[in-house]
């Protein structure tokens, strides 16, 4: 696994933009709503995430933290 993301589901509003931009199809919308009633995004957690941070860059709630294996650092 080169990358992974952590979604703050209480900040997430389930807009689906991260789902749209993830080149690896790593994100889906969850079926369980958060406290506010939104259906947040969910990281699939498979091995394909590249840590490219595209999901995080488009997230209007800045709800996504992106991690990456340290050998290949990406710029923040």
């Amino acid at each position: 696994m080169t990358g992974k993301i952590i979604i703050d589901i209480e900040k997430c509003k389930g807009c689906g933009l991260c789902v749209m931009v993830c080149p690896k199809g790593q994100i889906v919308i969850s079926e369980k709503s958060n406290k506010k009633g939104y259906f947040p995004a969910k990281f699939k957690g498979s091995d394909n995430c590249s840590g490219c941070a595209m999901c995080a860059i488009i997230c209007p709630e800045a709800a996504i933290r992106v991690c990456k294996n340290s050998e290949n650092k990406a710029k923040k």
């Binding site: 509003k13 709503s33 406290k35 506010k36 009633g37």
Partner: protein, 189 residues
């Protein structure tokens, strides 16, 4: 059923943004009007609504209504948890609480004098084939429980309350109202 000339029914309907709270309230108001009651309907409005909770207040009475604002409702229709927390404590003794048990998975802590109906409206709506009609189901249940106005009157008001462009939904909404009413009727209270 209480003495009709004494009727002064103050309702709060509350829930989440997209749950059709306002429409439910308007339908109740329209229904009461059709039933020749005095009525007021007061929505929460403006930026408050954005992303947060939505609620509205309906008062129906046999005499002139003083305030359209309801601080302590007789009847409370609750569609999500946040609203339960906010409004349940304000309910009057001997009042009525109807809530969406599809989203609220605990027993509300209210006074013993209060009549409570848990109804899984989201689930019922999905079963009906239209997840958006949960609001209509709960209206049906309310009318049935409260027993002041017949659910039939609400059905009669659908054409007025629902915008023309959505009139293809009339039938399913009608079904939803009756579904709610039926659910309520079958409760063992």
């Amino acid at each position: 059923m209480q003495n009709i000339s004494e009727l002064y029914e103050e309702i709060i309907i509350a829930g989440f943004g997209g749950q059709g709270i306002m429409l439910a309230g308007k339908l109740l108001a329209q229904t009461a009007m059709k039933a020749k009651k005095e009525i007021t309907y007061m929505p929460s409005y403006g930026a408050e609504v954005r992303g947060g909770t939505a609620n509205c207040m309906v008062v129906t009475a046999e005499r002139e209504i003083a305030s359209p604002l309801v601080t302590h409702p007789n009847s409370l229709i609750i569609m999500n948890k946040a609203s339960m927390e906010k409004f349940a404590p304000r309910l009057k003794d001997n009042g009525l609480l109807i809530y969406n048990s599809s989203l609220i998975d605990y027993e509300p802590q209210v006074s013993k004098t209060i009549k409570v109906l848990a109804i899984p409206v989201d689930q019922l709506a999905i079963e009906l084939g239209n997840p958006k009609s949960a609001n209509m189901i709960i209206v049906g249940a309310y009318l049935q429980m409260r027993g002041i106005i017949s659910p039939d009157t609400a059905v009669d008001c659908l054409t007025q309350t629902i915008a023309k462009r959505h009139h293809k939904m009339l039938e399913v909404n009608k079904k939803a109202i009756y579904c709610g009413a039926k659910f309520a009727k079958e409760q063992p209270i």
